[in-house]
């Protein structure tokens, strides 16, 4: 296995999760959206693009996306995607450390089950 392929896998998990955590942080800066009319949603979008966390998040997600394309060009999707299930563990950890969320034992258990399930789905490829 080439070293750059391993780097791509790390980038998929780390940048993908970090990107979504940054987008979450940006949306928490904006605060709870309570109105869902088109006008109110446009206002939310305009405010969202003014938060630097949003741009950082989208940039990191783009790095993860292109790493995924790169990894998929050399390996089977049934191998690459179960590895990305690690994102769920990284997400719970990041939510706790970076966003101050209280991840209870119950939630960790659920995250663990989702990780196993995602892996099974992709290992069960024909």
């Amino acid at each position: 296995m080439k070293i750059w392929f391993e780097i791509a896998l790390v980038l998929i998990v780390v940048c993908g999760t970090a990107g979504e955590l940054c987008v979450t942080r940006a949306m928490k800066v904006i605060g709870e959206v309570k109105e869902f009319t088109p006008g109110a949603l446009i206002k939310v979008a305009i405010r969202a693009i003014q938060v630097p966390w949003m741009w950082l998040g989208v940039g990191l997600m783009a790095v993860a996306f292109f790493s995924l394309l790169g990894a998929l060009s050399v390996e089977n999707v049934s191998f690459v995607v179960p590895v990305t299930a690690l994102s769920y563990a990284a997400g719970a950890f990041g939510g706790q450390v970076f966003l101050g969320e209280r991840v209870s034992v119950g939630r960790w258990l659920g995250v663990f089950l989702v990780c196993i399930g995602v892996s099974l789905v992709f290992l069960g490829k024909n």
Partner: protein, 144 residues
Amino acid sequence: MTETQPTHHHQTLRFKTVVMILLVVIFSPIGNVLLKKGMTDVGALAFSTPADAAHSAVKIFTSPYIWLGIGSLIGFFVAYTLVLSWADYSFVQPAAAVAYAVTALLGHFVMHEPVTPMRWAGVFVICLGVFVVGRTPPRTTEHT
């Protein structure tokens, strides 16, 4: 009145979280299936010369399925971003994994793709995990 307000707010919060996650797990698989359908219809693509690449791009972007797929994925992104304005990431991310189950169902029943027993087992375990996560409160951080 003031005593019932927090409970009422928690119910509203849970309700709109469930609605948004439903939109996420509907739009994302439908978008992916539409893209798959579009790309299947378009057929094999050539990119060896600039003219070939341009021809392939025209074929892709004149497919209505591709545009419907893109529209559906935009719907997914809007719902996902909105729910993150109030709910925990560590709640939304695993809960949205139901999309894997919906994708397997659509793949099997709409696209007639074979789904192995191990894959169905995976779908079941994901749903179990989402059920466990769903029993936790959607937001554990302070209201801003």
